[in-house]
């Protein structure tokens, strides 16, 4: 369970995030949606301690992030950032092995190699294992970065727009993989999505953010209505039902 209380964040004298109360159940996929600049990445960064908390508290299973050591946090929460730039001439398997750092501290064991093999297979990356990251396509690279977060073996996984650069097949493959991971490994996944329909089809809960505030929260089949989407994005849409799931038509 993730508990967020009274978290407010100012940047350059402007308030960009203000969440008084948000509780997210464990072992679910939670989709975070909202227009550009709503504060989604800011919230995720605060949750992963990439940004320091200015006020309030964030807890994972009663583990308070402001009083927990990085070593413990590194085994609890993993994050895929929206933009990451690092020395990227690493092979995919080296990258995944790096994500095992919280366990091997720089001296990988047979166990770590086993997890890497498992994830390479799980994310269909076996053919790219020795390819350098900067020689992959945008989508392949994105897949490798997501696999990296899973390699970290944390209960909680935060993904900021993982569908960036992914084609139809890979976007669906990733979303189904996320769902499988929840069943297989009891993960809790918070994922920022821009496509309402992916949120509707694959998420257990939707949290909508606008101008730093939570506008609505709930299961997709309750909260996705033409009115709520109009309120969130200012766009008129039709909502249709298809195999018991709500889909929005917004073209």
């Amino acid at each position: 369970m993730i508990q967020i209380q009274n978290v407010s964040f100012d940047r350059a004298g402007k308030n960009i995030l203000d969440v008084t109360e948000l509780t997210l159940e464990a072992k679910q996929t939670i989709a975070l949606i909202g227009p550009n600049g709503a504060g989604k990445s800011t919230l995720l960064s605060l949750m992963a301690r990439l940004l320091p908390l200015q006020t309030g508290q964030i807890r994972y299973d009663y583990l308070d992030i402001s009083s927990t050591s990085s070593r413990v946090m590194a085994r609890k929460v993993g994050i895929l950032q929206q933009h990451s730039h690092f020395m990227s001439r690493l092979t995919v398997q080296d990258l995944l092995l790096y994500a095992r750092y919280p366990y091997h501290k720089g001296r990988p064991t047979a166990d770590d190699h086993k997890v890497v093999e498992q994830m390479l297979a799980y994310f269909e990356l076996l053919t790219f294992r020795t390819t350098f990251l900067d020689e992959l396509s945008g989508g392949q690279r994105q897949m490798a970065l997501v696999a990296m977060v899973f390699c970290q073996g944390t209960d909680y996984i935060l993904l900021d727009e993982p569908l960036n650069n992914l084609d139809m097949y890979h976007a669906r493959h990733l979303m189904t993989t996320l769902r499988r991971a929840i069943v297989d490994w009891n993960k809790t996944i918070v994922v920022v999505l821009h496509d309402i329909n992916y949120a509707s089809l694959y998420a257990d809960q939707i949290v909508a953010l606008k101008q730093g505030r939570i506008v609505f929260k709930g299961p997709p089949d309750q909260v996705l209505t033409p009115d709520s989407i109009k309120a969130l994005y200012g766009v008129e849409v039709d909502i249709i039902e298809h195999q018991g799931k709500r889909l929005s038509l917004h073209f």
Partner: protein
């Protein structure tokens, strides 16, 4: 088995080059001479062998240090020369030799390393404040930064009449290396081994602070250790033979093309390529204007400058 045969080839070629380096000099020595003429064996022991070892150690440690700098600064153009480290070290060496001459060679070298570390820490802190839109901005900032340290040290050298020493520190030359004048470099050799031993940890620095921290990497502590290694090794080189500019820039960037950014894989190759290319440059320097010598730093600069220009020409900001 393939990597193994690559290494065999690499070591063989280095051995051949070392042999050539032993036989070439102000007067040529043939293999027979060493065994027949005692004074030739003497020249071997007191001058040729120390010189060849010095080149090998300096070439490999500068390759390693350059590669490490690039991971720490998260920038492919980082290396001691583009970070102003030799100037910082020279200032430390100069101040020590003027005000604390009694500390001896090791003490002088350590104080030089201290000043080098200070200049690295300031540069690192400066880099955290800036958002570079292009990696190439780093050497430009470094140019300005080293000019500041350079101006300080030049002024002092002028005041205390040490211009000669300054020139020696900043222009690597192996002509003066004889037995008893290079042994400090074994310290650099040991630093190279330590860096390799910690390669997996140092590789994490290339992930950048944010990502490294989410993985529980003690980022700040590792940065300081890495900068200490860089400062110490560079100081040892500057104090004994003088700086070889841009070796740490060019060699790791060629190696990266094949081995990538995983230091465990790339460091040994950086060491090998640094050693063999510097040895080649040193031999060429001895043959070019025989019996006079061109300093290895100059010969290497021609090579490095050309490679650097090609890098820029290709316009590939990942370098190569």
């Amino acid at each position: 088995m393939r990597p193994f045969s690559y290494w065999l080839l690499a070591l063989l070629s280095l051995l051949m080059l070392a042999l050539v380096s032993l036989l070439v000099g102000a007067y040529a020595i043939s293999l027979e001479d060493i065994f027949r003429q005692p004074d030739m064996a003497n020249v071997m022991m007191s001058s040729r062998i120390p010189r060849t070892l010095a080149v090998l150690i300096v070439g490999s440690i500068l390759g390693i240090v350059g590669c490490l700098s690039q991971s720490v600064m998260n920038n492919v153009f980082a290396e001691p020369t583009t970070l102003g480290t030799p100037q910082g070290i020279a200032l430390g060496l100069l101040l020590t030799s003027v005000f604390l001459p009694e500390v001896g060679l090791v003490g002088t070298m350590l104080l030089g390393a201290g000043m080098g570390l200070l200049s690295l820490l300031v540069f690192f802190a400066l880099l955290q404040k800036l958002t570079l839109s292009d990696p190439l901005q780093l050497p430009l900032i470094g140019l300005v930064y080293s000019a500041i340290w350079g101006a300080g040290v030049t002024f002092l050298a002028f005041e205390f009449d040490r211009m000669q020493m300054l020139a020696v520190w900043l222009n690597g030359d192996f002509a003066t290396i004889i037995q008893g004048r290079y042994e400090l470099l074994w310290g650099a050799f040991i630093i190279g081994l330590i860096v390799y031993w910690m390669a997996n940890q140092f590789s994490m620095l290339g992930m950048g602070e944010a990502l490294a921290k989410t993985l529980g990497v003690p980022y700040r502590a590792l940065v300081v250790v890495a900068l200490m290694m860089i400062a110490l090794a560079t100081s040892l080189v500057v104090a004994t033979v003088g700086m070889i500019s841009f070796l740490g820039l060019v060699i790791p960037n060629i190696v990266r093309q094949y081995c990538g950014d995983n230091l465990k894989h790339s460091l040994p190759w950086c060491a090998w390529m640094g050693a063999s290319s510097l040895l080649l440059c040193d031999v060429i320097g001895r043959l070019l204007t025989h019996p006079l010598e061109v300093p290895a730093n100059l010969v290497f600069a021609v090579f490095a400058g050309t490679v650097f220009l090609v890098m820029l020409w290709r316009g590939d900001r990942r370098a190569f």
